[in-house]
Symmetry: C2
Subunit: 317 residues, 2 copies
């Protein structure tokens, strides 16, 4: 039976679960006293990935975007379920998808404990569950006027790679090769999220673009922010293209970065840097929270940049 | 923004969660000492429901099939996430879908705490989380030779309704009207699952058909079973069609019943009946577990029925 093929690719030992794949439900024993962080994302072919994309890369990215939500909450990954619709039970495709999925899962200690398979247009729905001590979750509503605004890693690379692939941004091939990994193999900032517990006042992962996602923090925190464009961490190869409006838009509003944007009191700068060092991640201070509303990006000449696209909405495109 | 429309339809108070919809993750505080039962199902238009089906019914059924998995484990429903792909943000469709979804949710005390929305072919992916005391889950692997085999409610109605709709089974319209609710508005046996904790030795919900699902219990329990066809609980209206092979197949292998099939020691018959009374559900003893392997269905004349289709496989169709 072809279902056996699927069971074969997706059944692994689950020592962290009471009961994994194979019954009506998985059974899990949460760690005493911990709260659960739960997130669900759905990815569709033609929308979140392309038919020609590598199945291992799709498996990697599908789990990575869910882990990124756990990271933004400061949660420790524990368990996941995977529901997948496939046009046909394609052995080679499933083997490669599972390879990418489980490489990411093993890297972050998350166990696949259940799910569903059906025939249909290629669709991947994942629910990820993590644990966090009560009161330590990094929420969106805690940013205070005067807090620094930080981002991890570099931003804009994934959007630039997509713009290059779609012919909207001209890049030399040797340059494009340097931004493409960000699009196909995003790295969720799990270790940083955990290290920022008790330090960051708010956090979000950058999936829809820096301005849109920071906008969610500002809305929930009833605050504004002022950012310095020149401070934004961008790969050197992408810096060379920032004279192009499309490249600037990739940095500010491109999305798919899966870096953390977070706020912390100015008095905790050393603690933020120590947390980043613990996590082995670069962090950059890009501006500060203001008491008045609104999000301003200041250009190197001191003038506010015209900001008319603050990320995108899946139903507005 | 059209996203607001979705948030409006799917945001409800979640007093049972620390944090519901609106951050990177939901935050949940499991009850101390309880284990979690987690299940995920994906439903696609054209496969699990038809384009002309009522959106309220789709909302009802999408959550019901997940709740049925919790019922089969004996778990108490707590939280769910809903990821949905839609061709367009259709206000009327979403309002009706949400009405069906939340009616079912409120009936069983489950709270929607997160999810995802995207544009695409109509697809619904739900993860449901329940709680159960350690060691009391109704698993598939505990059936013992000599145990009775039971089913709740009646079986075959949903499959007969589908066969009627597809023109494979001729029924008088007045008769068909009596089986159609089983297809569109299945009722998960949550109360029965909870009442059977400590009584049933194994349980499963009938989604792929009695023979296929009981087969999962037998495989996991390394046992066989002998069933009496005449004992199977079938709506009187459907009894009148059982001379048709298609109608018999609906009862044995039709699926979509979402009743519980479970086993219990013969010495616990009174306890099973008391549990069913507590839950307000009929239960019927349909056969017993054998030590030898194999699943036999005995016809009223005492001869084994030829059983060649033991349910269906989503990739075999």
């Amino acid at each position: 039976m072809e279902f056996d093929l699927i069971a074969r690719h997706f059944t692994r030992a689950t020592p962290g679960a009471v009961l994994g794949v194979g019954d009506d439900c998985a059974l899990l024993a949460p760690s005493p006293g911990m709260q659960l962080a739960v997130t669900s994302d759905m990815l569709l072919e033609g929308r979140h990935f392309a038919p020609q994309d590598s199945p291992a890369g799709i498996g990697h990215k599908a789990l990575a975007v869910n882990l990124s939500d756990l990271a933004a909450m400061g949660a420790t990954p524990r368990w996941a379920t995977l529901s997948i619709a496939l046009p046909a039970a394609d052995d080679a495709w499933l083997a490669a998808f599972a390879r990418g999925f489980f490489r990411m899962a093993e890297l972050h200690g998350i166990e696949l404990v259940g799910g569903d398979t059906t025939r249909g247009p290629l669709t991947i729905a994942i629910t990820a569950i993590g644990e966090i001590p009560p009161g330590q979750a990094l929420r969106r509503n805690g940013a205070q006027a005067g807090d620094d605004v930080w981002v991890s890693g570099v931003i804009g690379s994934a959007a630039a790679a997509l713009a290059y692939r779609q012919g909207r941004l001209f890049m030399e091939q040797i340059d494009a090769a340097k931004v493409l990994p960000a699009l196909y193999l995003p790295a969720p900032q799990i270790a940083l999220g955990i290290a920022l517990r008790g330090i960051a006042t708010s956090a979000i992962d950058i999936s829809d673009g820096l301005l849109a996602d920071l906008g969610h923090i500002l809305e929930r925190s009833s605050a504004g922010a002022r950012l310095e464009f020149a401070a934004l961490p961008v790969l050197p190869v992408l810096q060379a293209y920032l004279h192009e409006p499309v490249a600037r838009e990739c940095v500010l509003a491109g999305g798919d970065d899966y870096e953390l944007c977070f706020t912390a009191p100015a008095a905790r700068r050393d603690a933020v840097r120590a947390a980043a060092e613990t996590a082995g991640v670069a962090v950059t201070r890009i501006g500060h929270i203001t008491s008045g509303p609104g999000l301003t990006v200041v250009a190197p000449d001191g003038q506010p940049l015209p900001v008319d696209k603050t990320g995108y909405d899946h139903f507005d495109e």
